[in-house]
């Protein structure tokens, strides 16, 4: 009897959770789908975003993402390789690791503060796609480095020794054997970073700004999708509909990327499991 009540309680909460999230997702889909169309994706926003589309905003989102990745990817992978493979000094590795963990926990709005002070003002980049992208790069680096590092570390040391015992150069062992083996982890980290960067709003408010026009260069100020949703919701009367449309696009984008990441993590475990 007690068990029954308990089970019922659990099922009731699960039903509530599913209902609430069903409400949110249903809301976004139902209100969003009526706005979303091919036209919506390829036209400029009009009337402060109440009408028209989100083409320049999508383009800006991609610009910011790509800038962030172009900076964070090579830097992150080399830092991860260094941490996992080259750093002989244990305490040094530990310290860098602690700094990374600390930075991974910094709230995104604080990255916004930093980006505004450093990129926009100190480096004189102003409110621009470049400032926003660089700020996001700083934001995703710590998590990305840590994911890659653990990916590289978890590659069996047998492969490392095997490669070296064959007289292969260390760089070749890393490039041709370790990195490909760690690639699923790297790509998963990459896609997770993309997801985080795509959803980010607070860090971009004071770095890339919110001009809703088609950017012509990376020094232009521009508005990303998440900021667009924020602005439509908060500042535009009658902007809710297009806000939901943009939210639908944003979620679809992120789900797409998350699914990819999940698939890679799975295949990664499957493969190493097969070997053991």
């Amino acid at each position: 009897m007690i068990d029954r009540a308990f089970s019922l309680g659990i099922y009731a909460i699960i039903a509530l959770v599913i209902a609430t999230f069903g409400w949110i997702i249903g809301d976004v889909i139902i209100k969003g789908i009526s706005v979303v169309s091919w036209e919506f994706l390829i036209s400029e926003p009009e009337d402060a975003g109440r009408a028209g589309g989100i083409a320049p905003i999508l383009v800006s989102t991609l610009y910011v993402l790509i800038i962030a990745l172009v900076i964070a990817l090579p830097l992150g992978i080399s830092a991860a390789i260094w941490l996992a493979e080259f750093s002989q000094n244990q305490s040094h590795t530990l310290h860098v690791g602690i700094i990374l963990d600390v930075l991974a926990g910094v709230p995104s709005i604080v990255y916004g503060l930093f980006g505004n002070a450093f990129f926009c003002i100190y480096l004189g980049l102003g409110y621009s796609l470049l400032s926003g992208g660089l700020t996001l790069a700083c934001m995703i680096l710590p998590v990305f480095i840590r994911t890659c590092e653990s990916g590289i570390r978890s590659v069996q040391s047998d492969w490392r020794l095997g490669g070296l015992a064959l007289g292969m150069r260390r760089s070749v062992v890393i490039w041709k054997i370790l990195l490909p083996a760690a690639q699923p982890a790297i790509i998963a980290g990459l896609i997770l970073s993309i997801g985080r960067a795509t959803a980010e709003t607070a860090a971009l408010l004071f770095t890339s700004g919110y001009v809703d026009r088609m950017p012509e260069s990376i020094f232009d100020s521009a508005r990303v999708l998440a900021v667009h949703i924020y602005d439509l919701t908060m500042n535009v009367t009658g902007g809710d509909e297009t806000a939901y449309g943009s939210a639908l696009i944003l979620i679809v984008l992120i789900i797409l990327l998350n699914t990819l990441a999940q698939g890679f993590i799975d295949s990664w475990f499957k493969r190493s499991g097969h070997y053991r």
Partner: protein, 274 residues
Amino acid sequence: MIVAETLAPRLSEDIIESRAPAHIKVNELAIYYGKKLAVNGISLSLHRGKITALIGPSGCGKTSFLTTLNQLSKLNNQVTVTGEIHFDGENLTQNNVDLLSLRRRVGMIFQKPNPFPLSIFKNLDIPLKEHGFKNRAERIEKIENALKAVGLWDEVKDRLNTSALSLSGGQQQRLCIARALVLEPEVLLMDEPCSALDPISSGIVEELISSLRDKYTVVIVTHNLAQAKRISDYTAFFWTQNGAGKLIEFNNTRQLFSGPKDERTAAYISGIKG
């Protein structure tokens, strides 16, 4: 037989040296981990085209010694090695040794099969490319020969592009041997190559190792005394003394097993200790 057993050890070593030329000559080798002495007193000759087994209990420095022969020990910067290892007139304990070409000439097989997570073909192709074989046709030929040499060719020739990790354990270990052979080394170091395999695969790999005799100088670490007896020409017995590994006895395998000169050797091979 009886004569040999009663003769002093010095004499038997002299006889050995006169029969087969030394390929690698080790003189008073000692290995330190940090400041701690790990292995010492190793002086022996590895003979060209012969199989030498290293036996002894765990932790007595067999594997440490093995890794000094291809200088993989240098990976750990805590490790220092003193003494001499003469390999074709070059002293490997000097600092100016070309590690890459040394490791090409001295291949190594590990306890656990470690094929790279790549295709079967690439496992052999990447090392070849790395050592400057630019001609693809030549590489394909070498790969085929190496796979034939380990008896794997017929089993894998139709699926060279599938993952090496899809092979069975025994096949993987033979692939690793092929990967070492494809570089045409002079010496093969083997660290308990059969211990992670099931008895049948182990038997196949053991036969393969036997077949390498005369073509390669083989040094094999093994805990399987029967295996050492079956396949090796020479046997070195290691033992831990005062916390550090030490070479106790080195002799022709038949003589070492039938007439050990040190009582610790005698006890170990008769299974009393270790």
